[in-house]
Each structure stands twice: as C-alpha cells, then as structure tokens.
Symmetry: D2
Subunit: 392 residues, 4 copies
C-alpha cells in the first residue's frame, strides 16, 4: 500500500526549484519523486528566465497558478496557500543552496537539496544550526547511499562482519572533462565553469563530496585528516579536474581516493573498497546490483541485491525481487521515499529518531563542504596533512 496516503490521507505536496527542461538532475528528481507515489509535484520554479520557468512548469502538468516564474513568487504565493507545499526540492546552482534553504526553513517546509550543501563553510555551519533549531527535515541528496547494497555494506560494518576497519580505497572516475571542451563553449558557458557558483573545487564539489560521504556512510568513521593533490590534469584548464587524496579515518584506518572528471572514455566509476580485519567488501556503482565480499578464509562471495542474507535495512531499499535489476533512479528514489517517511511521521506527531533516518542530512552536507576546503588547503600548502573534522 501507499504508506503516506495511509498515514495522512493524501500524497505530500512537493515544490521544485531549479532543474528545468534539459537539466540532468531535474528529471532525475521528478522520476524519483514519482517512483513510489508518495509525492504530488504541485509547484515549480524551473529556470532563472521567468517566462521559461512558467512555461516549463505548465508543460509538466503544473497548474498555471503554481508554475511560478521566480523564486520570490514561489516562496510568497505558496506560503499564502492553505494547500501549500510540504517540501521543497532545491536543484539550483551550488551558490544558491544556502539562501534558498534559509528561506525554505522560514516557511517551515521540509527540504530536499542537491550537493554540495553550500559553497562556503561558514554558510554550511550556519545552515546546520538553522535546520536543527527549526527542527526542519533536510535531505541532502548523496544519492548513492540509496543503493540497497550500499546500505547492506554499512550494515555489514555495523554488525562486525568485516571486523575492525583497516583501510579504504575510493574512486570516482568520470570522463566528461577529459578534453578542454570549455575552450569551445564560450557562448553560453555552463555555470560549473564559474568558481563563484561552484565553490572552491569543481571536481570535489561535484563528485568528491559523494566519495567522502560514501566513505563515512559505509565505514561509520569520520575522515579526520587529508593529504591532497588537487588540480587540473588537462593542459589549459582553469578549474580542477583531479584529486588524489590520502586519508585518515577517525579510528586510525588509512586510505586513498582517486577522483577525477578527466578520465578519457570513463563511464562513471564510483567505487569503494573497505578492508577490515575479518574481510573486505567492494562495490561499483556501474554494477550496482552486486558487491564482492572476501571473508578472510572463506570463498569469495558475490552478494547480489535481494539475494540470500540481505540485512533488513537493505531489504527496505529494494522494490523488485532478485534477478530484476534496479539502478540509479531506484536508488535516488529511496532518498525521496525515506524523506517521505520522515515527513509523514512528523506530521503524525511521531517524528523519527536520528537512528531511524536513512537519508543523508544537513550535517552530512556540511562535512562534505569541510572536506572540500581541507583538500584545497592541503594542496595549497604543498600536500601537507590537514585536519578535516567538522564538529556540528
């Protein structure tokens, strides 16, 4: 059944800001929101061009009065409605996340916000405070944690299946910046070409924060120090496209990260290998439905999504049975589903405890911002070990 309809008699009312026609992430959010039928998309602001924004909303089936032209209009008119939105999904350029989140908090709507959380660490810290003070439900879309086997991996660590964590190896290898394509795109450059919109690092803001969060999510350990080499490997490039990072976890475990968007012909290449005293696991996003598990003195296992032995937290993230692969949208949708659970529970006066919340939070987002800053600082100081702890 539909747990939200059961609990509150209707779907949640969802607003979206950013993610207009032609954007990659906008369509992802919309499909994810529809997947489990817990949300009705009722209000939009889809483009910085007011006319385009309105037209795009209408073309998606939004009624004319809620296909807003500007963010101001959305915030004002929605908050005046009886049937105002319950939650706002924010997928605008990075530098606007902070201000838009603050305004959403004021309206007492829940927030689903793209990463990185902010472009400045101070903003991130302030946002954590505001979210906590206001008791806002805030989902930071580190969407790879929505994969069932990623959750299973976390459970394996929590349950001691791997023993003590000794090492971690993380890669995120994309290829869309393998050439100096930006030299040709002078007409209408993408906002990611502008440091002030992106934040201190393109490659780390875009994908490094995913790598960082995935590490923390699965190991349950904070990344406490980094020794980083961040820069551009493609000659002529003015922003960074590569980061090699040596890391130390809270418990003393060591690791390396290899993060790039300049891998010629690379597919996507997010993968993580976590080495414990009793065994090792390895997961690749490109083959998200399986995880390699090497217990120290037993045969290697290929753990399959929905196969024998799934932990309950992983089971809950699965929709279709063994053998029928699930993938990117389904994982993204799990964050929407989990957020719906949290909003619904709060509406019913039984808010979820921290332990029950499966989706990444504003604190996770802020720690990602700290990681980006620490890697840049380390690099600027000649790749010295740099503290990356953020206590929020």
């Amino acid at each position: 059944m539909n747990p939200t309809i059961k609990a509150i008699g209707r779907k949640l009312r969802l607003g979206m800001i950013g993610g207009g026609p032609g954007s990659f992430i906008g369509e992802v959010h919309r499909i994810a929101a529809r997947m489990d039928d817990r949300y009705a998309l009722v209000a939009t602001m889809l483009s910085s061009n007011p006319q385009k924004s309105k037209e795009a909303g209408i073309s998606l089936g939004i009624t004319s009065d809620r296909a807003y032209s500007t963010a101001d209009e959305l915030f004002k008119k929605e908050s005046d409605r009886e049937d105002q939105i319950d939650v706002l999904a924010i997928m605008t350029p990075n530098d606007s996340h902070y201000a838009l989140s603050c305004r959403t908090i004021e309206k007492q709507w829940a927030i689903i916000c793209d990463k990185p959380l902010t472009t400045k660490l101070d903003d991130a810290i302030d946002l954590v405070k505001k979210v906590n003070d206001s008791n806002t439900i805030f989902c930071q879309t580190f969407n790879y944690t929505g994969y069932p086997l990623v959750r299973h991996a976390r459970e394996m660590v929590r349950n001691g299946d791997l023993g003590d964590i000794h090492m971690v190896k993380v890669e995120y290898i994309q290829g869309h910046n393998a050439t100096l394509h930006e030299a040709e795109e002078t007409e209408n450059p993408h906002w990611k070409m502008f440091p002030e919109k992106v934040g201190p690092s393109v490659v780390l803001g875009d994908i490094g924060t995913h790598a960082h969060h995935l590490t923390r999510f699965i190991t349950g350990e904070e990344v406490v120090r980094v020794c980083a080499d961040v820069g551009a490997v493609v000659p002529g490039r003015e922003f960074d496209d590569y980061a090699g990072v040596l890391i130390r976890l809270e418990n003393g475990a060591r690791g390396t990260m290899f993060i790039t968007q300049a891998g010629a012909g690379a597919e996507h290449g997010l993968n993580i290998r976590v080495f414990g005293s009793k065994g090792t696991i390895e997961w690749h996003q490109e083959r998200a439905g399986q995880m390699i598990y090497t217990p120290i003195a037993s045969p290697m296992q290929l753990i399959k999504r929905d196969g024998p032995g799934m932990y309950p937290a992983a089971k809950r993230a699965i929709r279709v049975s063994f053998g029928h692969p699930e993938a990117f949208y389904e994982a993204f949708a799990n964050l929407y589903k989990d957020t719906a659970d949290a909003i619904t529970a709060k509406m019913n006066g039984k808010p979820l405890s921290t332990d029950e919340i499966e989706f990444p939070t504003v604190e996770d987002g802020a720690k990602g911002v700290k990681f980006v800053e620490a890697c840049k600082e380390s690099t600027q100081n000649g790749s010295v070990w740099t503290d990356s702890v953020l206590d929020v």
Copy 2:
C-alpha cells in the same frame, strides 16, 4: 516536457485489473506507468475478492467510486463515465486474458496485457482478429524488449552490422522452482500450479514466450520449426520446469534454447547471443547496461547503454545519461511510454504506422502461444521437428 500533456492537454487515464497488493507484477506496472508521468491511474479492480479489491484501490489513492470490487463493475461503470479510462492494463491469471481483452475491445479502450496472450491458440488467433478489426492499440508486455540495448541489438541486425544471421543461442534460467516447494504449499496454492489457469506449459508460458519473442525481436526472423524436450527435472513435480529446444529460423539459421525455472541458486538468467556472418552480439538481462559485440576481425567491444554509437531507436529508450545505470523498471516503463505515444497519436488523428510502433503487439503474443503449443507437441511426439509458424 511531457509529450502527452502537450498533445492532448492531460495525462492518459489508466485502469488496472489484477495485480493487487503483494503481487509482483502489479507494482511493476504501477511504477512503470508513473515513470514518465504520461498516465494517471484512476480505476482499479485488484483482487478476485471484492472487498479486498476495493480496499486495495483506495489504499493506492484511487477514489472510492473507481476502486471497483469486480471486473463487471469496472467495465460497466467506467464505460458510463464521461472521463472513462483510455487504457486498461490486464495482469490477471493467464486464462482470463482472452475474455477480459475482448470486453476491453468492446469498450474501445487500449490494452496493455501481460503474457502469455492466452492459454489456447484458438483464442489467441481470434483475439488478433478482434484487435485488428477494431483498430485497438494492444501492448503485449514482452518487457525485455524495452531495454535500450535490446533495441540497439535489433538495429544492429537491421543495419547489417552482423551480416547474415547464422545461429542464435537463448537462455532463460530462473531458480524459484528448483525445489519441490509446491509440496509444502497445499493450503493456498498459487494459480500457476493449475494447468487450466496457466495454459499448456508453466515454464514456456512464463518465460519461454519471452525467450521466443526476444529471438524474433532481435533477429527479425520467425522461429519456423522447433524440436523440443519439455518436462520436469525436479522429481515429483506435476508441471514442467525445463525446456531444451532446437530451433530453425525463417532464414535457415539454427539455434538452441535452454529454459528453466529449476536452476538452483539461479538469479534470472535471460540472455541471448546472435551470431552473424560479420559479428556476434551477446546480451544478459542481469547486466542489462552492456552488450558484448565481437566483430569478426576487430577487437571485442563492450557496448554500453548510452555510450558512443547508439542507434536512435536505442537512444529514445534511454532516460538518464551514460554511467548512471537503468534497469528493469525503466525497460518496463518504455513499453508504457511507447504505448502512450501510440494512444496519444491516435487521439490526435495521426495514428502511428506499424513501423513506428515499438511495443510488442497482439500478433507477437499470439506467435508466443503458437510456440508454446509447438514445443509441447514436439515433446509429446518424441522431440520431432514441429512447425511453429503462425500466420496472423
């Protein structure tokens, strides 16, 4: 944008019969229908138990007046409405497909129907006639043809990339019947245990028809003769769980099929390898985002979904870019999307031509029923070569 809203100003109104709570296929249809936001599910009949049927509909958010208790009620009350459904999705047991489809044709609604088409060949032939005479849009859910790389495979054959087709090897290996579990399930046996509900063969009706259609879809050739060995490999079983089939295609190509639901520990195991005079392709549903292509004197290629060189027909079946895997739901949703295109076009007075229709049709379904009968007949006659052509 949403092409259906653009074309007709609203989403298509969808009804569902069968596929209630707890059913595997019901949830698949619903997620597929939502994926691209082209349908609004407005009417349901979800269980043979009238009370359960109504409650289940309401729990999915269907308004009380359209959460029907019985099929009769659905057909009667919907057809009386101004805003009656445009299309009915049928996912009841096999033996009801024929009658329900006939009634739907009478109402002039489009049909999305699960396979096998019918349990009797005569019914299948009659249904083809009725669908054609009435100009009904009929989608038979051979859902594996919704995978982008399956469509790419078909285009490769059509474009001569493989040269003449010489051989084909098809496997469909599931594991849920590896034990004699039915011996324990005497209380409330699944309808698939009853031949009269299933049709002449469990294993062929369930998955053999998929293997058969996939072969025809990719090669563009009919399966004209079969030499089959169909039976039960699990001792004590009263229905079939295995089929080994030697086949001949229309153009003289030879092939084998290995189809079973009794493969201990098997995941899903639908795969096909098509050998041509210039190269060979191989696709596995379990790793649906890649296809192995071995041109005769060039290095082996791993063709990736949305990678370089996709044919347009494959491109159109892709939602999210390279590196972000898509899977089962997305493939299934492609049949819904393609059906929406056909319905919308017809509503606008510009019906799609046969060539423009991507989804499997009633003819495809009927040919599957003929294949099942031919395999059973071959087996009964001592595995002799048996004609499996159906000219409809």
Copy 3:
C-alpha cells in the same frame, strides 16, 4: 622435488609423433611435457615429409639418430635401443590414431594420444580391448579436465555439494570457421577439410568430444541419449560447423549442448553449467581460474583456483599459489604429470588403481567416438532421440 627422478632415478623418455614445427598442438605437448620436468623428449617423427621430419627434430635438440624421418623408422629403431622411449605422444591426423596406437601397444610403450580417439567406432572399441589386454597406460588428451577447478567441480558433485544432478548446459563456441575460408585455401588445404582424415564430424570430433567428456567428467554420469541437429551454418560449407544437442544423462538429468566453430569473433567459449538439487556451478575455460557456485539459499560464491576450500584433487593440480593465474599449458601439463605418475608407479611395480588415475583414458576416448556417431545418426534420422551408450 621431482617425483619421477626420486622414484626411478631418471626422467621418463618421451617420443613424439606428429606435431611438427608450426603445428599448434605439437608445441603445446612439448611445453606441457617440460612443465614439471618429468620427461625428456628424446625421439621424434614430426612430419610426413621425411626430410622435414628429421630437420625439425634436430632443431628441437633431438640427437640426429633419434630425430626420425618416418614412423616406421621410429618404431623400428627405438624398439632396438636399450634406452628406448617409455611413452609415445601421438598428435597426427585423426585417422592415424588407431594404427599408431596399435603399434605402440605392441612395443609396450605408454601412450599419450590426441582426441578424437579414432575416426571409426569399431576401431575405438578394438583399441580399448587392446589397451586393456596389454595393460597399456593410455592418456587421451581431453586436456580441459586438467584445470584445477574442473577437478574441484567433479569433487563437489562426488561429495554431494550439488545434491542430485538435474540439468546440464554445455557450450563450446569457437570462431575460426565463421567464414568460408576453405574456399580460398585450395592450394594446400588443412587435413581437417577431409572427412576421411577427420571422421564423421569436424565440429564434434574437434570440440564436441571435449564437451561430451567434460560433461561426463564433472557429473559422473554417462550421456545415454542424444537428439541432435548437426550441420553447416555457413552457406557453401561441405563439412559441419554447428551442433545443437539435447541430451539425457544416465540418472535422467536433461541438458543441451551448443557446439560450433562458426561463431563470428568468438574466443574459445568452452563452458559448462551443472544444476543440482542443492546448487549450481558454472565454469568458463576463458576465465579458468574461477567458478561460480550458487548454493540454493546462500550467497553466490566465486570459487577461485587455490582459494579457500579446494578439494585435495584440485589442490594437486595447482602449481602456483592463489592470485597467480594458471592457464591452458598448466592444465595440459597436468595430464602429462598424472600420466608420469602412472608410468612411474607401474615401473616400480605398484601400478595405480583405476580410482587413482586422474587422466582421461582410452575408454573415455571411445565413448567420445560413440557420441559423435550417435549425434550424426540422430541428425540423419531427423533429430530423433538416439542411444549414445557405449559399454566398454
């Protein structure tokens, strides 16, 4: 240490007939024979051209007096020597295996002979008798049984890890006959183009016998009946390049085989999947160092060569430890090693029992010949079920 030197104070003296310079199989035998240092190659007859034969022997380091020009010379002069060869390896065209083996038996040398055993079933049966009557050590080089994981697979079946065997699926897919290359090779055609040299079937004699033996070796069951479709899929070809076979094992298990040398771009493609009541195993020669094992309700395992849990018989077939791959030569060499063990033991008056013999025997070879004949007969009679039992 070197067990042969330890046991008899010297290496075994090896002769070779056939397999001259430029032949694929000759070099394979020589490397295999050297691998474990149990043999000294001391006598050769390497070509049907007497002069070439002698020169080739000398170029390999054979002394001039034992680099023979003809088979007659080899048999005559070697048997006159005090230090005559202990064992003769036969790798001439198929139609000579029988006569050469008979002559070798007369000399009381051991035999290592390529497959197929003979081109005629009567010869095969007679050879079995002669070998047994004379107590000759005879190794038929079904070399794929030399892979450690193939032996592990057999042990898993023997030990009941898979339960009762229900189904088997075997493939052998090569590509060198994907084109009608023989049309261009009229000058100096390969002997495999001549039926009288090859026997009843090229594709079955060459690789079908491997598939047949591998099935028997792992399952421990005879193939008792076949229903076969053998023929040429490449237009214009006068010999067969494809065989689809439905099979029945002794215990009632069912299976299919897909055997071809006309798979465009195919690599080698020998693989087998054995389905039991408790689990399934799958092995591919191209990734010989791993085997997939799916126990019925536990996670899938990737069993690695020399990984945890190897059975002793598999362990004995391993030279280098975990992580350092072994491959084709090492597997082939295991047959040489096992044959050396048998010869050495016999020399020491402690011949190995049937149970202790790991290498394929003359009986295995004869059963392969029967299989080829049964498949051809089945095809000629319209793919009817045909008995393939040979009791020798």
Copy 4:
C-alpha cells in the same frame, strides 16, 4: 624451432642460487626456465643449509658434482669448469643480491636476479656501474612486464594511441598480511620479518617496486616525485603493510598508488589504469588475458591476448593462440626467453641494442630502490613531496 640451439648449438647452461624446495619463487624460476627449452639447469645452491642444499639439487636431477652445498663452492668450482654456467639466477633474500651479483659479474656470467635489486641505494647505484662497466647481461625479474598485454599497453602509449598521459592509478593489493600472523610464527620466522634482510620497507620492496616499474614500463615516464603514507594498518605489526602514494610523472601527469599486503581476502590485485588525452587503458593481473580500452568517443574495447590488433612486441610474448589462456608462468618465462635472446646474441658477437632488450634491467632495479627510499623518506617527513629521480 629452438632459437638458442640454432644459434649456438646447445641450450644455455643455467645456475641457480636460492629458491630451494618449498620456496615459492624457486619453482617459478625453474618452470619459467624450462618453458621454452632454452636453458639447461646444471648447477644449484638451494639452501643456506649445506646438506639440504646438496640434496635438493640432486633431487631436481642435478649431477652430484654440481649440486653445490654453498655459494662459495658454486662460484669456485663452476668457474673452474670448461662447461661452466652461462647465467646465474639469484633468488636469495634481498640483502644478499648485491654481493652475489658482484661475484657473478666477476665470473662474467649473465644474471637473472629477483627484486628488489638491493636493500641499500648506494649498493644499487654501485651495481649499475659494475654491470655497465663489465657489459653484463642483467635481468631484474619485474615479471609482470612479461605479460603480452602489458607489452601491448606500452606499445599503445608509444604509438600515441592514448595521446598525452594525464593520470595513472596503480594498485597492488595482497592479503597474506591481513592478520598479525607473525605473532604466532616465533619459532622459525620468515626472513621477510627482518628489516636488515628486507630493506627499508617490506610492502614496497616486495610489491611496491613492481607497481613502480609497471608504471614506468607502460607510460614510458619516470616517477619524479612522491608524497607517501607508508605504515602498518594491522595493530601490533612492526613492519609496514600499506602504502598510499601520490605521484608525479616526468611529464607532469598525476597519479595515486594503493599498495598493501593486508587486504583481507585479497587475491593478488595488481592493476593499473593509464589515462591519456585520447583514451584510457586498464589491466588487472588476475585477468591478465584482457585489457579494457576506452577510446574517448568510441565504444569500449576488451582487448584480448592474441586478439585482433596486437602490436608485434606483444605478439612476440604470446605462445598459444587466442582463446587458450596464458598466465603467470608464461609471463615469467618471457623474461627468461628474452634474456636467452640477449645472451645468445652476445655469444654470437651481435649483442642486442638497448632498444632490443625487452626484459627489465639493473637500472630499472635501482630506480625501484630509489622509489622505496623516497616513499619512506616522504612518510618520515610527514608525507611531504619528495624527489624520487635516480639518474643512472
């Protein structure tokens, strides 16, 4: 034919020092030496225990007078012989490589020596000088460069297939030190537990030097700077088992290395990925017969050993045709084969030029020693960037 016999009328006479019964590497050397029949093993010193040394030699078939008890005896008696050895293979503990090599140079024998070259950088530099001054043929067994596809990778870089090299990622992940097993092995500890025998780093000496050489071999670039984190991840361990290294190549390319022997359940895990401006290649030792190649805008290729398009240098390293896998021994044997070519050519008065030498040399060994020292120094100074250039 056998090129050595053809060129000099006999096989090369090989001596071995170290690598006695039960040693992993001894048997590897012996099988490698036999593979192509270019060497006759005629003299041995196999153990530091004189009696064991002699007995072991005899058990391998060495004549009693050349199964030496001590190194002194070997050097003395061999050099007195007319038929003295042509080449000495050294596989003793690391700290003896220098002295034994110096003595071998004095005897004017060629050398095949295990890595790391020496335990002290000064010794390495001195050895390079001595080898060059004496014109000694010296093969340092960085055996992974013997794999055909590794050579193909180097050729691809040389031929510009990848364009400019931008990044490199190298891993070497073994598992035998995943537990504190040394705590149990107090009786008869392995020499690798003693820093004075091993050199500055266990993990880098053992496998880091392989990773370093493979990087240089394929990219054709020196590793000019390192920023390293070397240490023990297993609590209680007194030697290092992990190294994370950020690197800079000569041409400015950036990279990371992840090197460990403490990966629980790890198989072997040597792999390298080289990213160029036009494409990327990736090779794993565990599946040595294939290499992934992603040209920047064409489909991903799986380059197979002996498949279409092999460069001649790779072809020369292949023994058996496509589809018949080769592996560890064959790769190791390629170093022996290439060394035989060099020795034979020199004997014939036509020494190979530097360009014609395929095997790793003493310079390569010395650069490995420098890399180890640079990584240790970097770590001791807090992971600062440290020069790793050695001009020899």
